[in-house]
Structures are given as structure tokens and as C-alpha cells.
Symmetry: C2
């Protein structure tokens, strides 16, 4: 399988390591190695450039990972962010009770209480060992801890970055002096104590999110300043209706989907269009991206409607971006719980509670998708490579002296030092040039710069293209400009 | 007090907010607002440039925040990362038992067991209310949680980023193909359940660290490639001897301190010198920086000797960077506990366990120091400002149309768009130009670019210097180059 090769290269070359591997691993946790962290940071920066810096009215914040219990009482996570689970008394296998009931009865469990699920499971046995199933317990997916000494107070590691933004609404509004509509973005870790982490970096207990909470006037969900730049973007939507009758998804222009009421408001449409454009820039093919209107039973407790941007992975379609219409749910809840005024005052002095549109990106899943779709293998090379877009490649170039003599390493070092303040590049002089090309290909380096005897004479070097393996000679003095052009997408070498 | 003004501006303008403020705050946790996160990220990037990218043999990684119990059994944190505490039975005040004994008896408690401390406290009362003191309990400073459903397994939030690097030693070595000496850096959150968080963003329960674990041949602690660049840096050292007899610290060249054995090895000396240079670039004055050789009782369990880089704050001297000689403590412990080989194979085939030199930077404390030393107030302006170095200012420039008419906003928007891909800048057209200068000063913006009627005629604008308030006219076409020069430290405007 391709994905097994990818996971193996990712570990061997320093993209992604299993966490605590020397202690037998730690389910649901992964570490980024030297190559992985460079790529992850570039994806974050590119996201920031495309979704945050490009808009005049979106700012960023970074809030605490640990929050007190009151926050999650108000947000509903304490009560609703739960899975019902049952454990076989014989073989100890743990099941999600609702999923198990659906599997055993072939009937939907939407809206069923724990009592009802318990009643049904009484008549069934463990599918694995035919043992008796235990009483259903409700398992909260948040990691709980205690803050402070002795008794301490209950606190939780955030299951999403969003709550830190909502509870800071007043401070953020004061500091930015923003007018509606405006957004607050946040990139950082979130934590969910998943019952069964799986599929490499897909379902993790500790993961990286990039979220935007867009605060919007509830009656102005259809006034979006830059919408016209994206209205003609073509996306693929799987409606609720199509899902229920196993129908085919619809390919449609964003403005059309909006007009027909398939997408309920312009802010959602705006973000969905931008996501489509951005993921294509990351190398995900059009046909591997779709937007699925979540069914009512899947929709989170805080949302009035979710469109998941799904990508087709080796194992099937899976959410990578969640687009949520959170309404005034969070601000209203926190306002009630805290007794603080979290309203926005309009120019006419009227108070309103803004509504929230939230696109929420999974970084780890994005990296999974990028590695999957950029992976290449071919007999002619004898090794694998990743055709990563230069903008998010861990390194944009490698610098090689052809030989470790004749002053070539010194000349190469000079060129390396000339470039390294402005670009992520690396220097390598060990092994044959062919081996060095292979090592660069494996971590997706788009260009290898080789310094040879001719370099000493005329200040040119060979630049090898990862995608085509073709080499051309360029002047050293033209290098910086050429690399800047490539990184700014002005000219991308096509393989 | 100056610091109270700083804290107030930091909250009002979006540098730093108290976490969960609407619920009465959450001791030991703070949030970064829109201005704070820009500055924090620039400090991190500058650190990366100066300490990581500038060295050929230092890489970066990003490891899990949650780790299983076994990791901290091996690292010694489960056993040794503890405080003995006692609680008054009457007024419920919690004390660190060893500190309380020192306060009450005026004698050092170094090396005392819990039993001995208990025995002494039996003869004393609560200093606050004269109530009876409870039995001493040992309180581990790590945040504990449970991973996985039902019983789950004990896990902890990391108290330092370092352990994730040690347990990945084999993977990191394979991926980088590094030769000794080499370093792995990590920037990220760490967590310590402090008994009494205090002093704003100084003693936090959730904080940001930047660490480098430098793996070194134990017999080659004095071979450091780039040492000569820093050998003449002058630093201030407070030796153990000087501390014991309340002596004055020594001002000395790094190479001298090394020669005299004040600093025990060249790697420590190298990092200390770089820290001195870097913090001066951040605007901390020479006389507010000193290196203190920690006393034996303060030295962490894993260290053979620590030099704290301390900064003089409003409340006194405090550690901002810890420099630790961790020896082979961690690799040996993890190797024993896991049964895995964590040795390094030399060219002659011999196995050795590398020693570790670790500089560990507190980002939040660094920000505290920068804000403290860049803060200015003066009657002539009528407001406060921060003279932040341009490289780490949240924004490098503000773009203002002088008036909201006569096509000036359009022209200003054009210039704003021309610059914003390359620089962090903002646009503001509300209020008088004086008010806008004040607002920019308060968040440390080094330059305000004002577009007026002359701009429309000759494509020049006025650039106002935050430090001097002086204005000069420059050509719009020269702006980019000028700003790049300033950010690269080639030319810094002196106030």
C-alpha cells in the first residue's frame, strides 16, 4: 500500500514520528521531526497569508490550552461532548454504544437516550467473543486535570481553540476596535480523548487546528466584502438529500449554490470557496475535494448547520475542514453563565449578539492529504519522491558541491551562506550526487543546486528540477530572484 | 508603578489578556491578543534565526504535550519534580513547607527530608492566623490526566519540552544523519502546576518555552565551531562564592571566564555569550543582565550545574534563560527504562552516550522584560509608548490617509496593499492624525506613513519616527527597501 510507504518514509526521514515510541508508543499522539516541523510551519504561514492577512478585518489571538470547568459548562462541552460506551465483560473490548447498536440492528440511533440504547444492548452479545456487554457509561471526550494544590479545581484541556476567543470577546473587541463583520483566528493544539485513535495522523487525541471565528451581524449574513473574488469558484457539494438517497454530489459554482439555497449564507459560501482554492494550491486535486452537508444527527450541539470539506483519502472520504454556523450559541451561553455583557453595540446604540461562522482546519489531516497526493514512485528513478508545492516544501533547495575537493566545498559553502538568510535550504556533501538527489527527492526538495568546476570559472551552477529530474545551468547572481519568484507562485515549474 | 501601567496597556491594546477573565480569571494562565501574538511570533522567529538557522548542525522538532507516565518515571519528574506543602487548618493558607521553615527558623533547609520538616513545623503556627499547620503533603508540579476510556492510563502534560527530544533521540539521529555535536531545538507550551502563580506573566502554570538540547561528545565539551565569533562578548557573572558572601558580580569576557574555570565548558560559554548578544538586540540593557551560577540546592535533579541568565525586573532579578549541563542523565535513564539503545556510534565503532548542554528560554518572561525596558512616558507627548526594536514590533508601520476625503483613502489603500504582502502593517483612517500617532505609539509601531495631498502630486509621503516623533518625506518607491533595511538591522533609527 502507498500509505504504508508514506508512513515509513515520514518516520525515517523526519516528517512524523510515533510519539513515545521507545515506550511502545502512545496511542493518538505523534511528533513532528525536523522536516515535518518546517513543512507544518509553512502550511500555517501560508494559511495565515491566505485567510488572515489578506483580509483587513481578521486578527489573530493565542489563548490558554487549559480552561476552568465553568467555560465548558457554558459551552455545553461538559454535558454534550460525550460518547456512550460499553465494554464487553469477557474480552474487555470497548465499543461506542450507539455505533454498536446501529451495527447490530441496522437502524439509526439518532436521538436515542442512554436508557434506550441500554435496553437494546441487553438483548445482544459482544460481536467479538459473544460475552455479556456492560452497562453503558457516558464518556466525556475532554482531558480532565486539576489546577492548583491539594483539592485544586477541575479544569480541562480545550477540545477546540474557539472557546478562548468567545470568552475574550469583549477584550478582543476593545483591543481591535473592530466593526462587524470581523474575525479572530487562532492556530494551536486541541485535545480530544478519542476512544479509538486511528489512521496515522487522522484521528488523534492531540492535534493541531487553525480556526477563524467570524463575528457577523445576524441580519447581514449575506454582505461579504470580498465575495466577488470567489463567487465563480466551482465546488462539489453533497447535500443531505443526496446522502439520504445515495445520490451523486453536485458540481456547482459557489454563487449558484448560494442562489439555490444549497449553501445557507454568503459567509459560509465565501469560506468554502476559499478553502477549495487553497487546497488546490496545496496540491489536492479538484476531484478529491467535496463539501458535505452534515446530517442533523452528526451536527455538533452548538451548530445550526455544518458543511464539512472532505478529502478522499486512501481509506475513504474524511473531514479536513469543518464549516460551522454557530449562530449566537456561544456568546449567549457565556454571557448567561458569567453574567457579563457580551453584546456588540451598533452605531444606533442598539445591542446585538453577533452570530458566528467558523471554518475550522485540521493541520495534521491537511498534511496527511498533501503527502498522499504528492507521493510519486517510478522505476526509472528507483526511489520515491514527494512533489510538494515549493511554498510548503520543508526546504526549497539543497546545495551540493559535486566533489569534496578542488575548492568546490568552499565555493558551495559561500553560495549556501549567501542564500540561507532568505530561504530554508540545506548543505550536503556526503555520498554520490545521485544519492544526494534521491535523499532530496524523498523529502520533497524542489531544487538541487550543484556546484562544479565550471562554477569556479563562470559563476553558474546546475539547478535540478525534482519533478522532471532535468538540469539547467543558471547564474549564481540570478538565484535569489528565481527562488523568490517560485515561492510567490509567479512561476511554478511544471513537471 | 510603571508595571501596572504596562499591564493595563497590554490588556487594553491586545498584547496580553488575563485568561478566562469573564469567569473571574484563571490563576497562572494568560492569553495573547492580536498585538501580542504578532510580537510573540516575531520573537520566536528571531530566536530561530539567531540560535537555530545560523548553525549548520541544529534542527528543530515539535513533540507531544501529553506523555505517558513511563516518560516521567524515567526522567525523574514523577519522583523529584515536587514541592512539600502544608496547609493551615484554620485559615486554609497553603505554604511551601521548606520555604516556611526557612522563614520561621532562618536556617537553610537544603537536603532536609519531609519528616524533618514536619518535625520542625510541629513547633510552629501559621504566620497569618496562628492556626495549626497540617501534615506536609508532597505535591507534584505536573498536570496529571488520564488517556483513553474507562480505566485509562495515567499521563502528564510536559513540564519541559526537552523530554520529547530525548525519547526521540534515535529517530532524530536517523532522520538528520547528524554527527556530534548537534542540537535539536523545540519551541512550545509547557505546564507546571505552580502553588502560587504570581507577577503577571512571570510565574505561570501554562507557559511558552524555546529549548535547545545540544548533544555533545562527553570528552569534547570544549570544541565549538563558531565559538570565536562570541569569545569577546562581555558578560556579568555571579559565582556561587560571590552569592555566599554577598559579593559583587564579575564583569568578564566569555573567553576569560572559560579560562579561569568560572564557566565549566565551552558549550555553556558559547550559549551564554549568544544569549547576552540576543537579549541586547531585544532592547535589554547590559546592566540588567547577569548570569548566576545556581547554588547546589537550587540545581534541578538532572543537572550537573546551571547558569541562569537573569534579568532585573521591577520586583528584582529573575531567571529568563536556564543553562543546564544535563550530562548523560536523560539518555541513560530513558535507555534503562525503555530497554532501548540510545547511544551514538562513533566512527571507530565505539558506542557512547552523548552529554547534553541545554539553554532553555522563557518566552513570556522575555516579553515581560522587553515591555518593561521599552516602556516610555513623557509629558510632551501626553501618552505612553514602547520603543520596541522594529524586528519584533507587532507592526513595522501604520498607513494613514491624512483626511478621509480628496482621494487620500484610495491612495493610502493602494500603498497599504503594495506593502502588506511583505510586512506586518495596518491601515487606520479614524480620528485625528495625532490620535492615530498615539494609538500606534502605544503598541510600539516604529513608523507611521501618512498620505497627504502632496502624495497625489509627487508620490512621496511622510514617515514619522516613533522614538523622535520627527517626520521626513520619502518616496513611495523607496519604502520597501527602507523597511527591509531596518528589519535586517542594517540601519536602525536611533531615538
Amino acid at each position: 500500500m502507498e500509505i504504508e510507504k508514506i508512513i515509513s518514509i515520514a518516520k525515517r526521514r523526519g516528517f512524523i514520528f510515533p510519539s513515545s515510541e521507545i515506550y511502545g508508543g502512545f496511542s493518538g499522539h505523534y511528533d513532528y521531526g525536523p522536516v515535518g516541523i518546517l513543512m507544518k510551519r509553512k502550511i500555517e504561514n501560508f494559511w495565515r497569508e491566505f485567510f488572515v492577512k489578506s483580509e483587513k478585518n481578521i486578527w489573530e489571538a493565542e489563548t490558554s490550552l487549559i480552561q476552568p470547568e465553568k467555560v465548558f459548562q457554558a459551552s455545553g462541552h461538559l454535558k454534550d461532548f460525550i460518547d456512550p460506551i460499553t465494554q464487553c465483560k469477557k474480552c474487555n473490548t470497548i465499543y461506542r454504544a450507539d455505533e454498536l447498536v446501529e451495527e447490530l440492528t441496522h437502524k439509526p440511533t439518532q436521538g436515542m437516550s442512554v436508557e434506550e440504547l441500554n435496553k437494546i444492548l441487553k438483548n445482544h452479545k459482544c460481536p467479538k467473543c459473544k460475552g455479556q456487554l456492560g452497562e453503558i457509561k457516558v464518556f466525556n471526550l475532554m482531558f480532565k486535570t486539576t489546577a492548583g494544590p491539594i483539592q485544586g479545581s477541575s479544569a480541562y484541556f480545550r477540545p477546540e481553540t474557539a472557546q478562548g476567543i468567545f470568552i475574550n470577546f469583549r477584550n478582543l473587541l476593545n483591543a481591535t476596535r473592530a466593526k462587524l463583520p470581523f474575525g479572530i483566528a487562532q492556530s494551536g493544539k486541541s485535545f480530544r480523548n478519542e476512544i479509538s485513535p486511528r489512521q496515522w495522523i487522522m484521528r488523534l487525541r492531540e492535534f493541531n487546528q487553525m480556526e477563524i471565528e467570524m463575528f457577523v451581524h445576524p441580519k447581514k449574513l449575506d454582505i461579504v466584502e470580498n465575495f466577488n473574488h470567489y463567487s465563480k469558484v466551482k465546488i462539489t457539494i453533497l447535500t443531505r438529500e443526496e446522502q439520504q438517497k445515495n445520490g451523486k454530489p453536485t458540481e456547482i459554482l459557489v454563487e449558484e449554490a448560494l442562489k439555490k439555497g444549497i449553501i445557507p449564507n454568503k459567509f459560509l459560501a465565501f469560506f468554502m470557496a476559499k478553502e477549495q482554492v487553497w487546497y488546490e494550491k496545496l496540491g489536492i486535486p479538484r476531484e478529491a475535494i467535496r463539501f458535505r452537508h452534515m446530517l442533523p444527527k452528526e451536527t455538533p450541539h452548538y451548530s445550526k448547520g455544518n458543511f464539512d470539506m472532505e478529502i478522499k483519502f486512501d481509506f475513504g472520504w474524511k473531514e479536513v475542514v469543518g464549516n460551522s454556523y454557530r449562530t449566537d450559541f456561544d456568546l449567549t451561553s457565556h454571557s448567561k453563565s458569567s453574567g457579563q455583557d457580551l453584546s456588540y453595540i451598533e452605531e444606533d446604540g442598539q445591542k446585538i449578539i453577533p452570530h458566528v461562522i467558523e471554518p475550522s482546519f485540521g493541520i495534521d489531516r491537511t498534511i496527511y492529504a498533501i503527502l498522499l497526493y504528492s507521493f510519486r514512485q517510478g522505476k526509472e528513478r528507483g526511489w520515491e519522491w514527494f512533489e510538494l508545492p515549493p511554498k510548503i516544501s520543508p526546504y526549497v533547495a539543497a546545495v551540493y558541491p559535486l566533489l569534496s575537493k578542488d575548492n568546490l566545498p568552499e565555493k558551495a559553502t559561500e553560495i549556501f551562506q549567501h542564500l540561507r538568510d532568505d530561504f530554508d535550504i540545506f548543505f550536503d556533501e556526503s555520498g554520490s550526487i545521485g544519492k544526494r538527489y534521491a535523499r532530496a527527492d524523498e523529502i520533497g526538495v524542489p531544487f538541487c543546486l550543484t556546484i562544479d568546476h565550471q562554477t569556479l570559472k563562470d559563476s553558474t551552477l546546475t539547478i535540478r528540477d525534482r519533478n522532471t529530474t532535468k538540469q539547467v545551468r543558471v547564474k549564481v547572481s540570478d538565484l535569489k530572484e528565481k527562488l523568490i519568484e517560485i515561492l510567490h507562485d509567479k512561476k511554478i515549474s511544471k513537471g
